[in-house]
Assembly symmetry: C2
Homo-oligomer: 235 residues x 2
Amino acid sequence: MSIQVIAVEGMPEVAAGDDVAGLIAARTALQDGDVVVVTQKIVSKAEGRMVAIDAADADAERARWAERESVRIVARRGPVIIAETAHGFVCANAGVDASNVPRGWLALLPADPDASAARIRDGLRAAAGADVGVIVSDTFGRAWRNGQIDVAIGAAGIVPIRDYVGVEDTFGTPMHSTQIAVADEIAGAAELVMGKVGGVPVAIVRGLDVRGNGTARMLIRPPEDDLFRTGATEP
Amino acid sequence: MSIQVIAVEGMPEVAAGDDVAGLIAARTALQDGDVVVVTQKIVSKAEGRMVAIDAADADAERARWAERESVRIVARRGPVIIAETAHGFVCANAGVDASNVPRGWLALLPADPDASAARIRDGLRAAAGADVGVIVSDTFGRAWRNGQIDVAIGAAGIVPIRDYVGVEDTFGTPMHSTQIAVADEIAGAAELVMGKVGGVPVAIVRGLDVRGNGTARMLIRPPEDDLFRTGATEP
């Protein structure tokens, strides 16, 4: 078995109201079963989830917007907060981001990234005639490990978790707890061909069969199962 | 740009003393620059990091070994501990694992997974004449998100983190904090073609240029930077 991860080259800078699905379909030949990974940044731009800020006071503006987008502060280090968003994501600055946006602006997360993914999926079916899965990805830090990885914050048309609970391993022993977050692994694989400075906000993962009706909300651990509700606060 | 993720099919069950590099080289044609991802389980088997347990008391035995392999308990839920290992990894049961091992045995993590990766890399150079990177992967849970993903616990011949700090984004703004843990994204991509029940413990990621001299130890967040040193303890 092998899969391909293919960068979609030549995407233009996206502005509010742009048709992301149309822009993608015009630049690549999609196949049924492809998973199309779209970075949060262009989804936020297309959906107008950008806010104008005072560029001379950018750090404070960003901190203000991060607090505003937070429902709970999980940890704090100096000016950076690790916060829970209204969606339930736990991430730096509640996903409020100044990179790859014009000076004087901040990008907020899409209001409903699963709905964003579903709209793009519908748009790709209309524009390209292909039945694809869509993931909206963002770059999140992790507890305990250095560096960030891309994960799925929105999804449509895929099964985000491959559940092996009760499935027998190669020795016939049923597995107790293995549930693989394939949507996050797909988002991370897509990041490998995107980079952060090459202007490649879309990639295709081809050759996997993950079709289904899940959402990225299924990847959010409910509070009652979360052993890491709060972390340290440092000045 | 595109990359391929290729399962190495036909690997046999591995036993203590087996030459993992030789087994891989006999089953696939490697190219310079490939990243060869090998699951921890076969590395532990080849290195004899297996312990015999009383199969009639498997859960208690596993809990006992997990405590023994831990240097610190980070959180606890019933019989499962989230623990820091001597390597510095934070993971369920300190990496002690009963899946895909024969009944009556447990797999411990390799003693030094970076050294394991380096040995396999040297072996692949000798057996296949190819200059490849090697990642030893394992399946870890995460804070705040459901499901597990594969990450790099050992590495050789690669740069595990792509550092964008100070690099200008597409708008010419220097990025503050973006460091992408590409080794973890590569491990996750490899998992997509492996699955957990198909007996595919090795995959090749081809088409990325991540050659360098890093290790997976670089992915471990030092205690002084760790905001999530402890979590909840639940009966």
